[in-house]
Structures are given as C-alpha cells and as structure tokens.
C-alpha cells in the first residue's frame, strides 16, 4: 500500500466522499447539534471515536464474520462503542454530555457508521479502515463545525459562546431546524460547483 493511496483514503472524506454533504448520511444529528460550535465539536469527536472503534473491530473480524449475520454483528459492535462513549463522557465531561443529551446514544443509529462498516471496513485491512474512519470522522466534524459556525454567528451573534457584536439582530430562523436545512443546502451547492 503506497502512502499516496493512504493519503487519498484519508482525504476522500473531506470533500469527495464527505459523509454529510457528499453521501448525505447522518443528517439527523447534523441538524440537531449544529446550533452551537461547542456542541458540534463534541459531537464530532464522539462520533469519530465510535467510528474508529467500530471500523477497527469490523475490519479485524471481517474474515470470521459470517455473511448472513454481519449486520447484527455490526450493530452490536457499534452499540457497545456508543455505550462506552456515553458512559465515559458522562463521567469525565458531564457538561458536554448534558448538552448533547439524547444525541450521544443516537450515534448508534447514525448511518455513517454502519455505512462505513458495511462498505469499507468489512472489505479492507485494519490500517486502511483506521485511515478511513479518521478521514470520515474528520469530514463529519468539519461539516458540523462549518454549519454550526454559520448558524451560531447568524442566529445568535456568538462564536464559541463569545459575543461578537454589540448591536446585532440575530436571524432567528437560523437557530431553528429550517436554518440547518438552508445552510446544508447552500454548502452542498458550493461543494458541487467546486467539484465540477
């Protein structure tokens, strides 16, 4: 495996196969947690960790997992990692845990993870799967960060909770779910025009 190939496995998650904007996966959590940059990063890190764990394990087991029960096995692996993240965050980062609330346990049903397990980790070596997970996780976090930045600044006039303007009339719709759809749509349009 050449290092160039590895690099492309890593970077494909940023733009070309970006899980959110390119593959349109995991939108539910993106809509929900992108109102604040702080939450967006917390969610991105938690999700990357689960993705990394599940990709490594699925890739390790890929030759022994019977084809017929592979989906239940993926689910058990993903569920276990999510629960570990949930418990550890609750113990050591209770503030972020409280903000993200229900969306941590919901990583279980985040389709990005099962999609990577099925489409990539089940067919590739451990090293490639690690690279893939990091790239995809970074791509997901990056998109969350950009959307949350746009929404937090326009909808609340703050960035990372710091007030940016003295006289500012926030665009309230940006804080609500429609704001997330609008932002995602615009970003997708920008990305597509760049790709061409």
């Amino acid at each position: 495996m050449s290092s160039k190939k590895l690099l492309s496995e890593f970077t494909k998650g940023f733009v070309k196969e970006n899980p959110v904007l390119g593959l349109m996966l995991g939108l539910c959590s993106v809509l929900a947690v992108s109102t604040e940059v702080k939450n967006a990063i917390g969610m991105g890190v938690a999700m990357t960790f689960v993705l990394l764990g599940s990709n490594i394990l699925v890739s390790l087991l890929r030759k022994t997992i019977p084809q017929k029960v592979r989906i239940p096995v993926f689910l058990i692996v993903i569920g276990s990692f999510t629960t570990i993240v949930d418990l550890v965050m609750n113990a050591y980062a209770p503030a972020i845990h409280k903000n993200l609330g229900i969306f941590i346990p919901l990583i279980v049903v985040n389709c990005i993870i099962i999609a990577r397990a099925e489409a990539f980790a089940a067919k590739n070596t451990v090293l490639n799967s690690i690279i893939d997970a990091l790239g995809m996780g970074f791509g997901y976090t990056l998109v969350l960060f950009v959307i949350a930045t746009i929404r937090e600044i326009s909808g609340n006039g703050t960035f990372f909770g710091v007030k940016l303007f003295t006289e500012f009339n926030p665009v309230l719709v940006m804080m609500l779910p429609p704001g997330a759809f609008i932002t995602i749509g615009l970003l997708m349009a920008v990305l597509r025009s760049i790709k061409k």
Partner: protein, 175 residues
C-alpha cells in the same frame, strides 16, 4: 440446521464479549458518574440558595438550607412546568421570608436559541429578590416584574407561572 447453530454460536460469542466489555466500563465509570451527579446537585442547591452552608439530606423537595449553626436559613423548591416543547425542571431558592434567592433550570429541551434562553442568566436573574406577587410576566399583569424572553413567550410564561404557584403553595404548607 448446522449452519443455524454455527451462526447462533458466533452471535452468542460476540454478544458475550460485548456484554463483558460494557459491564467493565460501567463498573469503572459508575462511581465517577454518581459523584459527578451529587456534586452537580449540591452545586445547584448552593447556587439558588447561596447563604446556606449545607442542605437537608433527602431525596425529595422541598429541602431546607442550614447555616453553620444548623438554623434554617431558607428553602429550595423543585418546580416543574410544561413549556413549549418539553418539561422544564427548575430549582428555586427562597429565604425565610419567601423571597427568591435564585433560580436554576435543571433540564429543558425548549427550542434551541429561543426557548432555551430561559436558562440564561439574563432571564433568571430577574427573579432574585422578588416576592411571589411580582413573579408574573410584564405583558400578562400590571404587577408583573419579569421580562419574558423575546419570541419565547410560552416558555417564559410557563416557568414564571410555575414558580409563582409553587411558592404560593409552599407558603401555605409552612405557615
């Protein structure tokens, strides 16, 4: 048949390993989680009733707050209100004259960026130092002295009214 048993065995092993791992994680984090929760709870009590040195140890509310000499200096009530999209839970601290010493929102899932602002200091600090008669939204009553959060009237009204009612109820039980 043979294959079914094979698949079953495989799934059993995977589940057993997952179960043991999770039990282990739970074992190592449970203490920390419980202590974090207690710490957060105590901090919340202290926040709404800063004059108190310690609090009554029991599982339900209202809780009495004590000073160093074990005299009652105030009370902490738990208020539940039905907001716009969620149940709002809050702690309210009262001194012995039933004047509010602090309000803290424990949990809510109101609209992020709108209703969720009821848990911010700008809104909650208005309650401090007020008797229950003044705890009404300005737009609802002449006597009211609470400014609602802009475009989140339902959430603001829900928590304001719930706090007033709870204090009034509590007064009767003490007197």
């Amino acid at each position: 048949m043979k294959e079914t048993i094979k698949l079953g065995k495989y799934l059993f092993i995977i589940c057993a390993v997952a179960g043991v791992t999770l039990a282990g994680t739970n074992y190592f984090t449970i203490k920390k989680i419980v202590s974090q929760k207690l710490k957060a709870e105590n901090a919340a009590l202290k926040e709404v009733l800063p004059v108190a040195f310690c609090f009554e140890v029991k599982n339900n509310f209202p809780k009495n707050g004590f000073d160093e000499k074990n005299n009652i200096v105030g009370y902490v009530l738990k208020v539940t209100a039905t907001g716009y999209s969620s149940q709002i839970e809050a702690l309210v601290g009262l001194d012995r004259d039933f004047k509010v010493t602090g309000v803290k929102i424990l949990s809510q899932t109101e609209t992020p960026g709108l209703g969720s602002k009821i848990s911010e200091k700008n809104f909650l600090s208005q309650f401090i130092g007020k008797f229950s008669e003044k705890i009404l939204l300005k737009k609802d009553a002449q006597a009211g002295e609470i400014d609602g959060v802009t475009s989140a009237t339902i959430s603001s009204r829900a928590i304001t009214d719930a706090i007033r009612k709870k204090i009034n109820e509590f007064k009767k039980t003490v007197k």
